[in-house]
């Protein structure tokens, strides 16, 4: 707590798209309420704080630190450890910090393959000397260090103990506000628990207003191929909705807009792997009859890995590809 009695709050972006930082603004006019009780002490996206400022803080000086983005390089790891030290409450904010998020799909490749594509083989690359980034580069004026790219995207909880986790890509505004209120309510959380807040212990199906007719899926289609019927479960209509295998709390916003759930709140409570959960469920939702027909049905899912692990590859069972 600062000397003026206000909370000190930080937000940091690691391997992130910036959406989480913006989502904090989504709380709208409640932002004014927030800044009446809290001062921003570190927020690279929005304010000009330096790392050395944070280093200078006392341990635990930050009352709450929101950390969004996955851990992909040595800088992000170092800052994660720094912020853990300087924060009383460290919150993994968003799908990337919590489960790896979309960046974790890079775990299906290796850094070598990524460098190849990014610096050599992609069609728009013009790099005749085959220059690649190097962690240490010597110039006439001194040495330059850039962070080292790690072999895989990690979650925040893979690096440091995390107090809370707010899932979502990005976390949904009302849930964020509830989480802020809960956390600023005063209770000191147990460490290393990564207790999930701003979400429920049920799945998106619990909040989804669409009705189930209990029919088997006859064909999988993608949403550009059909206009879904209103009020009827999208999965039953053949759109790949991950609702049954996704933690709830978002209010099923996407479903209300006729879009199938992509699973951004991560695996449900008690399930370790969204892909395994969905595959188990799909087996019971279709009626194949023969192996040939099963193959035809499954061919309607063009990218099971990408669809089922879109946001949670780093928190699933496999975590990487070979």
């Amino acid at each position: 707590m600062a000397t003026n009695g206000k909370l000190k709050v930080g937000m940091y972006w690691a391997a992130s798209c910036g959406g989480c930082d913006i989502s904090l603004l989504e709380i709208g006019p409640r932002l004014l309420e927030l800044i009446s009780v809290a001062d921003v002490a570190f927020w690279p996206c929005a304010a000009d704080f330096k790392y050395r400022d944070v280093v200078g803080y006392a341990d635990g000086a930050l009352d709450i630190c929101f950390f969004n983005g996955g851990i992909r390089n040595s800088e992000q790891e170092e800052v994660a450890r720094l912020l853990r030290c300087k924060s009383r409450t460290l919150i993994a904010y968003g799908a990337c910090a919590g489960g790896g998020g979309i960046p974790a799909l890079a775990n299906l490749t290796t850094p070598g393959q990524i460098y190849d594509a990014a610096y050599h083989t992609n069609p728009s690359i013009d790099n005749p000397q085959g220059v690649e980034p190097e962690p240490l580069y010597t110039t006439p004026l001194g040495e330059l260090e850039i962070p080292e790219l790690y072999p895989a995207v990690l979650r925040l909880a893979d690096i440091v103990p995390v107090d809370y986790e707010i899932p979502g890509c990005p976390p949904q505004a009302d849930r964020v506000w509830e989480a802020i209120q809960a956390v600023t309510g005063g209770a000191v959380p147990a460490r290393n628990d990564a207790v999930k807040v701003g979400c429920t212990d049920k799945t998106v199906c619990d909040e989804c207003p669409r009705e189930k007719k209990l029919v088997k899926i006859r064909e999988f289609r993608r949403h550009h191929q059909m206009r879904p019927e209103p009020a009827w479960c999208l999965l039953e209509q053949g759109l790949l909705c991950l609702g049954p295998a996704t933690r709830g709390g978002c209010g099923a916003l996407c479903l209300k807009a006729d879009m199938p759930c992509e699973g951004c709140y991560g695996a449900p409570a008690g399930a370790d792997d969204q892909a395994a959960s969905m595959i188990g469920a799909v087996g019971a939702l279709v009626e194949a009859g023969t192996e040939e027909r099963a193959a035809v049905l499954i061919a309607g899912i063009p990218d099971p890995t990408g669809s089922f692990c879109r946001f949670s590859l780093a928190s699933g069972v496999f975590k990487v590809a070979k």
Binding site: A152, D158, D272, I279, G280, G283, V317
Partner: protein, 167 residues
């Protein structure tokens, strides 16, 4: 006796890798099929350890993933032939889940020979023995999968080794 003692020396000195296969077998058909291979005294490699379920429909993809991630070099899933399921249609669900899982495993770089899904009835002891023999050799040729080592190489779990900042 001496042979047995030698076989139990820890692998640090043992050197020769043997494929580790885990099989998920449904009690009424494929597990009984494995039993009939035994009753007929058929001989096959010992590399496959069997986990019994009542119905192949119980085989959650997460269990298969768990096996691979904890060191299995190959996984075999067996169930009743379509139409013969003791629980009517449990194997129909397996029939859809396994090919889908196979695609996931392929994207993860797990070679196709490491994951097999077949139907074996209680009378097909020979088929069972042949499958295990084939698969053991197939996986032997592919080498160890070593997923735990892979995770370590990719830095998963290294946070546990880290000291808190400042130390």
């Amino acid at each position: 006796m001496q042979d047995v003692a030698a076989a139990h020396i820890p692998s640090a000195t043992a050197a020769v890798w043997e494929p580790r296969l885990v099989g998920f077998l449904c009690y009424w058909c494929s597990y009984a099929g494995a039993d009939s291979a035994g009753t007929a005294r058929l001989k096959y490699p010992p590399n496959l350890d069997i986990v019994k379920v009542m119905c192949s429909g119980r085989i959650d993809p997460e269990l298969i993933a768990t096996a691979f991630v904890h060191g299995a070099d190959g996984v075999l899933v067996l169930g009743c032939h379509i139409g013969d399921c003791h629980y009517i249609s449990g194997n129909h669900k397996t029939m859809v889940r396994m090919p889908l899982l196979r695609r996931l495993l392929a994207d993860l770089g797990i070679e196709p020979g490491r994951f097999r899904h077949e139907w074996v009835s209680a009378a097909e002891g020979e088929k069972f023995a042949r499958l295990v023999t084939e698969m053991t050799e197939q996986v032997r040729a592919l080498g160890p999968l070593s997923w735990p080592a892979l995770l370590r190489e990719r830095g998963i779990g290294h946070g546990a080794d880290l000291r808190p900042w400042g130390e």
